[in-house]
Symmetry: D2
């Protein structure tokens, strides 16, 4: 095979699976390889180093292989500076631009490695020239004419986090997939521990919540978690907010006790009435301040200055005032939350969890909880080494989580 | 349409859906009808009465319609005695034998209505002649030559229980389907209430359990429910028992703490070793008596004289001594449990729940819990008016149920 | 019970379930009733008539019951004109406004019944005064100050379509729920028949499609259906369009044969590159006209002037030019499609199907196809009497559907 | 760590994942290691060799680690003969007996390596002494007093098949998990190719079928596959057989056309009548020979001398004559089928597929088809390197498979 290039792997390259993945990528894509050098860590605490000569029949295939290896942390040897090209128009990137992974990434610029700021997947990398050069990500639609964009694969270093190597630490548990057959209570206790650890380190906890959380009766416990300071940001849709407010407005005022399960009818009318009442009041904050709304998750957010993003979608009724109906604007708001988060809980929502997940670096610890295994698998598979999935009932998960957190504190 | 017969409906025939179902059956099957008489209960406490003339193009269609109406509680007017024919051979029923529903059923014999004993679905009805005539069910393979078997539709009265008419009582809640979006904790509290009611009335609680219950960490709480007298009978498979025993034998002896989730490997070896150890000990009872097994669900059953049935299946390893490997014998053992049960909990097992469900009359209160909505739907749809389904995590369900039951008692 | 009102039911009120539902509603909500008059259709072709006196302990409960009965087609006796109130501000409706169902609805105005135009659920009804008075729906956020809005329940007639009474016709099949255990090929043939019937009657077929359709290999057959005139409108998201275009741009250009399944990697890069290329080309239409895109569903839409709506969502990459990123604008575009559709196929997308379903009157025939039973159930349960659900693999459904339609035509 | 042992790995130990797994096992279980030797295959066609010194704090931990490594193909260096101990009683194995994997395994006996015959998982290995020594598996309940059983880990070599290294061959496709989002038709064509290849090599195809296959309308196509010689053995339950026969007996005789979907009622009566009729006829073979049954899968099996096993279960009605009701006997019959099979199709049944899968060596090519992803995942995860999963509708899968096979032949 006439076309070749050398790549290097470093770290726990065998037990992290990098070596295996690299071999597979090359073979799957029709290339071949020689191992030019291989120094194995002789003990489990030592790292390894390998250098592979990758070969392919044509340059295009070689490029594809190198690109793919790259995504998995095999970086070209003898690095040169990254290639930069200017964006020809707003929202138009140069051909062959480098599309990011969600792993920590560096760009070689002027012989130095710049860490790419705000790394998230599927972005272009823009390099700002100057005395203090910076590299950072931009989504396609934010690209502006003249932005210097990284193209090709040269001068780029991707560093996927090693998967945890032992069972120590809060996220050493539950490696290897998604299952409804794990010990549920013990798992929830571990998650509670990870939240406590995050809070002890002054980290930010972001909760991404779907309406099923309200239906399944977990509203009061989630509101308590907000009130008690365990949740620092909320990322939701219009549906979640409406259901939460509806419980306040109609769960009580019509004399029905939702605890007793004898709400006679689904009362879809209340849903639409709630929206109407909140519009009339001038929005959620106004409704809380005026005393119209007196309990619930939104109430606690307003009362405790917990910021929330309500991202609109095409299935919304209403929507409530404050809902960001433009998808691009909503993504920007979600992106800001995601970049500030140290710990993310994705609770019974696929749409919003995917949106948040798209903006997360692979190093942010994430817990996905849903009763549908397919949803959990889809979220956990999106490439975070730190994602933990749990298939359980959100209506029992949140109360048990709250119990562990509150017990611990006493 | 030249062929016709008259049927009668009594009770809450509109709000129970009987009337609607009857009309649909007739139309779906190609017949027609006239309403000869209809007296509607004018208030919600009054019953109604209707008499329909059912017509069809041919006798065979008419028969099919009448049969189907019958299953739904529309009984032929002007009853005559049921037709009885002798079984020609062992396991061979007369052509046109009457195949039972799981609803309370009466047979007209000598001008009197005999209540059919041990009603369950898909059986033949045998009538014992004599001074004190009896009617009772037999499954096909239990039929003996010479048994007098009911054939045709004449002289048979089926009485489906009215669905609950209001939201009172333990099972007035959760009518209308299966969902994971109900308030989970409130629902579990209601189920706890129904169990307490059953125990207050000296009723028997049968728990049908699958291995997921052990995997998901609910073993200790189920064992406590057995110990504290909330469970009177256990219906399980070999897998459940082995997993329960394995936790005792290997959860401790190898120094691993299953609570900490750091059991390094699935340890399938332990599964097969457990079976081997119990065989060596001479069975579960012997293993408990000898002190080999010191905790868990099986342990509590042995210590508290709670009878259990271990029904074998083709996917079993082993099996453990005491497992009933013959399906017919196992069904007989399950049948006996089912007939004694006043309240049945089906916990995370489809196979065993279907087997138990096949033997239950439609009047036995039943709760089906599984994380898979399809499983819950399948179980609840099998025709019991008293079945309640809950889509939740068995690993959080059992602990919360136990908490409610134990709290209540204090 | 001191508070009472009289309601009337007409039509096939027993076999359609209206009578049963009415009784249950009253009892569930704590009221009682007397049947003042009941004339039953004596034959299956005759309609019935009932008059009920509904009673409750207080006016509020009575109102709720009457409202709920109303939604199910039990209309108040002795109708008076509907109450109209002026909207106090933009987007603010009068308190107690009437929130619509998706059933055909009439408003009594000046002693005449006005049919409500463009009926869909959860809207306000606006009445335009004048020589030729009209009533029509408006969603909350479209309400303008001064709009005359219907409030209360008086003067409103809701007419839920009778469920099909026999097995005739294209949609007489598959009543009663969602299952993966129906004869798949026969069902698909029936759906093909319903599409042909729609086309013969010059009706419009709207296809709502999710990305799984492309992944599962049904792209070429769906493109053929568009080309051959079986699909008149397309409702999709950005993901569907990108996947479709990516197959065209990268399925071929890199020499990979997607038919052979040996696409080595997911090639997420291609996804983002596709968006970039289409942006560069100036949009989908431009990309087709310029010859950049030469096949696929979007290609056929452009070439055959089939209108499509691409509704944005927060999980989108890009998005493609032409995607409507504002949820309200997207809903308006979807609403227009929905109102023109005579037959809707919802193919492997929950989000877009719910959005379309929200705008459909209950009389539009709808088929929901998904491999996830929960998705199908959720869509079919949204209240259309004409919705048929099929749990199957979209990757085999579309090819078999196309085969039936093309065979039929020859 | 004072306790240590040396193990060796050979083959494609990196790209097959063996090396990674070995490292992880040691670390997960609390041990440590040194890489004493590592010769990497420099090209993709060369194999690698590694020697690890495994260390642990105590002998028990070391044993557990060595055992676990063993299961993954890391074999102890400097092999000695396997330890043999005599079974003390029927069904009782010596303590510490070696429990098999489903991978090809060798036992060192008298300095020679004996290949273990009929390898399947969770068995004991019995060695027959004599001039021509043999090693073979026995399930626990088949062990007889005096059998010489392998204990411990010494003298045992496990050889997990390398996972396919490239995309060549019928099973090179679809590596890496289970998904409903693959191209369905292309995948089915590949499966058809694998069946043809098996038949060209005079291999045996075993079909394991559940009742959903009949409900979903695939009966006629499966019957055709049997008739045309594509299926050599059938492994089913009572339910499958009854449904198949019921279609023959009542699908036609009552004048209902199942193709038209207008079977008015589920007709559960027909199910029980079918069983009764077949019992009366003296069994399935007799019913076919007498002309009572004239079509379907069972009919084709009888007519074409295709052997079938009907394994009983506790949810069966009846059962039909010929059903093996004892689970142990049924497993023995299934085991015989499994050992003869070269290609296994698991079609819409979890119970029977698990039972067959338990008896399969990891080298048998297996396809699992179900509409429920959880079922497919569970089956594919059971350790076969050759298992392919497909999430699709069995009612469209079988017709398309048959079409491909029949087309190909013409």
């Amino acid at each position: 095979m006439p076309y070749s290039r050398t790549v290097e792997l470093d770290g726990h390259i065998i037990d992290s699976g990098k070596m295996e993945t690299s071999f597979r990528v090359i073979m799957d894509m029709g290339g071949s390889f020689e191992v030019e050098e291989f120094n194995i860590g002789r003990k489990k605490t030592e790292t390894s180093h390998a250098r592979l000569l990758v070969e392919a029949e044509d340059e295009e295939t070689l490029q594809s292989i190198i690109h793919e290896l790259h995504q998995n942390g095999a970086n070209p040897a003898n690095p040169i500076d990254a290639t930069l090209e200017s964006a020809p128009e707003d929202q138009v990137v140069p051909t062959g631009f480098y599309s990011t992974t969600n792993h920590p990434t560096e760009i070689r610029y002027d012989g130095e490695w710049l860490s790419v700021e705000d790394i998230e997947m599927d972005c272009a990398v823009v390099v700002d020239d100057g005395d203090d050069p910076r590299a950072y990500t931009k989504v396609l639609n934010a690209v502006e004419e003249g932005d210097m964009i990284v193209t090709g694969n040269a001068g780029i270093r991707v560093n996927p986090p090693d998967r945890p190597r032992d069972s120590e630490g809060a996220f050493g548990f539950m490696q290897g997939g998604v299952s409804s057959e794990r010990p549920s209570e013990s798992t929830i206790r571990k998650i509670a521990g990870a939240i406590e650890e995050t809070k002890r380190e002054d980290g930010n906890v972001l909760a991404v919540c779907g309406p099923a959380l309200i239906h399944s009766g977990a509203r009061e416990d989630l509101a308590a978690l907000v009130r008690e300071g365990y949740i620092d940001m909320l990322s939701i849709g219009n549906g979640f907010a409406v259901h939460d407010l509806e419980r306040d407005l109609y769960g009580t005022s019509l004399g029905m006790d939702t605890e007793e399960l004898d709400h006679p009818r689904k009362g879809h009318k209340h849903h639409i009435y709630t929206i109407s009442e909140i519009i009339r009041a001038g929005g959620i904050e106004a409704a809380v301040e005026d005393g119209l709304v007196e309990s619930g998750v939104m109430y606690e957010c307003v009362k405790n200055d917990i910021p929330y993003v309500i991202a609109g979608s095409i299935r919304d009724d209403g929507p409530l005032p404050g809902t960001i109906t433009d998808a691009i604007e909503a993504q920007d708001a979600i992106r800001e939350q995601a970049h500030q988060a140290d710990f993310v809980m994705m609770l019974s929502t696929l749409l919003h969890s995917v949106a948040v997940g798209n903006c997360l670096p692979s190093t942010t610890r994430t817990v996905c909880v849903d009763i549908n295994p397919a949803t959990v698998t889809q979220l956990v598979d999106r490439g975070s080494a730190q994602a933990v999935g749990m298939v359980t009932d959100i209506g029992t998960f949140v109360p048990i989580l709250a119990e562990h957190l509150f017990d611990e504190r006493e």
